[in-house]
Point group: C2
Chain length 220, copies 2
């Protein structure tokens, strides 16, 4: 599964958090980053990671490089899809490319994007869509002997996920069994599973965290 | 607007939190509490408040006493509508009585209750339904000179709302301008407005609180 990352007009350290995290940690190949204002260079020139990943101007360019998935690589506060992104998403869906979205706003709630998906067969994976069967917390027992490391920060984009992924890597190198539990959309895009807890109804956040942590402790 | 409170099989201090809060503080008359297992006494005998409020066995009894609204007065963890409550809710809706529900589960998501509402014209007010236009926090400035008192507790049903309401009453008696901001379903049932923050998608809880507190500071 080859992935292109959309960061139109935003391929910079302060604005392309998801792109940076995915380029740094994802297990799948990233074939291109799309930002028409920075096309013709490589991603590392702008965000320090992705030395071999070309920045291209269009979805068609990314498809020519093999892209089967278009991941939205930026995240504005409030979680709306940027207007500048919509033509790119429409083109991807129209050409049968899957869209992965970590924003609160749902891709198919935009009638033009829904129409493009219908025409071209592109599917949508909503990374922030919570499971429908969450319960409140307090019912499960962590696996005996498991230790939980919670990374906490006083703002967004300060390195909570990065610290967690580095700890898991280091523990792996040290021969320990360890697992990363993704609680945000970038982590989910990297790990392939998880729950974006800021998209969960507040009463069920503790239950979601408990389920993920206990499952991870049992499976690691 | 005359209200009856449903507390079937649960009219006791540990289980009828909403009933107790409403009997103690609501500005509207409560004409009956429904609990068929305790019918024939008054509410105060079981929960310490409601000395003149009869406990009755059926919705029809409550309607005979003038009830125009049936408020669900209990709240199980997880927020499901109790199976024991469903026949009472169906009867109310069938007889054109409005239902006020503070649980997570929506009344009309039960096909039998939806059918009863259709037959009898009873409406439903979902106290926990969040506004659709919430934003993340950090955009408004509290009104100059306003003080915010936040009541915090380490568990449910420990008196956060009660302390707030008593503070507002005492400040009113002292000649101060003060307003209660309801952040839970019982407070909303009492005050008539508010946002049940535990039913809000987590990313928007701070914005909901900010809006309510700033509005209250401007209007008090």
């Amino acid at each position: 599964m080859k992935v292109a990352i959309l960061a139109e007009g935003q391929l910079a350290p302060a604005t392309a958090k998801t792109a940076i995290g995915v380029l740094r940690y994802a297990p799948y190949p990233v074939v291109a980053v799309i930002d028409s204002s920075r096309a013709g260079s490589d991603a590392a020139r702008h965000i320090g990671v992705g030395a071999d990943v070309p920045v291209v101007a269009t979805v068609d360019d990314a498809i020519a490089l093999g892209a089967e998935v278009l991941l939205i690589g930026t995240a504005a506060a409030g979680g709306r899809i940027a207007d500048a992104d919509r033509p790119f998403l429409a083109r991807a869906l129209e050409r049968g490319v899957a869209v992965w979205n970590g924003l609160h706003e749902r891709v198919l709630s935009d009638p033009r994007l829904a129409a493009a998906a219908k025409r071209g067969g592109g599917t949508v994976r909503e990374l922030r869509e919570p499971p429908s069967d969450l319960v409140i917390g307090g019912h499960r027992r962590p696996r005996l002997g498991a230790r939980v490391v919670l990374t906490v920060g006083s703002d967004a984009a300060v390195g909570k996920m990065t610290a967690s992924l580095e700890l898991v890597r280091a523990l792996g190198r040290a021969g320990e069994r360890a697992a990363f539990v993704a609680t945000g959309q970038t982590g989910i895009a990297i790990a392939g599973a998880g729950v974006s807890v800021d998209a969960v109804v507040a009463d069920f956040v503790a239950g979601a965290a408990e389920r993920m942590v206990c499952d991870a402790a049992e499976d690691a």
